[in-house]
Amino acid sequence: MFERILFATTASPTCDDAAKVAFDLADKYNSEKLFVFHVPGFPTRGYSQFLRDSRTGDEEQISPEYLDWIHEEMKNTYGTLLEDCKNCEVITRIGVPSTEILRMARENSVDLIIMGAHTRQEDVGATRYRSISGSNMRKVAQKARCPVLIISRPCTTCFKLFSHIVFATDFSKPAGSAFQFAMDAAKDVGARLYLFHAVDISGLHVGRELNQKDIEERVAAAKKKMEEKYVSKMGDFDNYEIAIWEGLPYVEVLKYARDKQADLVVMAHHTKDVDPEEAELGGTVEQVVLRSACPVASVNRPDRL
């Protein structure tokens, strides 16, 4: 399922949890290649011989020694993991991190990108005022042609042992791609697939307040849509469950994932009616990524499924 994996890392402790998943996945799936990829910074201008470190903002001179040093640091960081990995390649490139990650994924036709949620370690309180997820993660999830697996907490179960996969949908077109990935993964590892939708009754927006009858109608309509859009495409796959809850979508997704002891949450990366090229990471996905106890896969295109 994952022949070529790209693990995009800041080579800092914030990516340690993602690293474990990446190396484990490559091992269990006997992947043809695992690229351990790091972009230390971008040139200060054009073809400048200086780069600005993307984490600290410090200016560094680009020299073969500097690049060798980074390469060596990467090897030290992932020393034991690299020793056990047969088909790994450590690659360092200078440029804008999100652009280089996407370029690398495209050039090498990777099946899966694995990333941490943050570039640097943040206090939980600070995420309130900052971009809630790393901007590189956001840009990669927005434009990647393959699924992006985002790890923000330690994952205690390896992918092949996943037994509960939650697919959360807003019925948008990209959600169709996410469904395909979720179903393929569930079939591959023999997991139960939970098809979930949250009817938004948060009352955060101006408009007519929903009464009980309205809510029940919406729940029934969502269930029908679920049958038409997804169940009809499942063929003989019957290890699934449908759930429609009402509330604030990201809260309901998290509550449902917890309730079902989910090992993986799969979502399309933006809300409906938005062109994939122009879409920002959906607010719901952002909230779920950082608060979820399990990994979250963001999928929005069918190209590499």
Binding site: D123, R130, G247
Partner: protein
Amino acid sequence: MSEREFSGIIDMNLVILEKSGGILYGGKEIGEGALMCLSHQVELEEGYVLRSYFSMLTKYPIFQKLNAFFSSYLERVESSPEEGCEYPGIEHLELVKTVEMIGYPGKPKMEIYTTLKAVAGNETSEIDSIHLESLLDMPVKLGKLKHIVLGDRVDTFEFQTVFTLFEFIDGIAWELGFHGRPVQCQLRR
């Protein structure tokens, strides 16, 4: 009588959070006007624990609208043991306010936020890996204000500060919203 109570001026703007979940204003428990007290500064009664926080939410349900996760937390508190929900190696939980000057990335800026940390001796640690059920009977204390200048987290300045009732309710709720570790995976297999 504390210096603050003695002055009588600041006292006008002070609420005391009881261990039982009640809120005292001017020595009397507040009723329907709970929302008016959100901007008041808080003091915690001796023996205040995290469970007291949830008792307050039960006693003043209007506060439950401040965070979308409250209903699920209260369900978990309801199903937890009534006592003994403590985590070994932690002395208490401390709500800290941070003022951080940031120079990079982006334009220079200043951010002010609260954080709930575990304290043991002189050490503080994150609590996001500890389940709510293991924290309910841990004492809660109000900490100081930390001033971090341009990313220097080693030489920080610390000052006495006050917390409003809103900062207290919202700060703890925000922190708990990021809790969770997939312990269920380990338990299941």
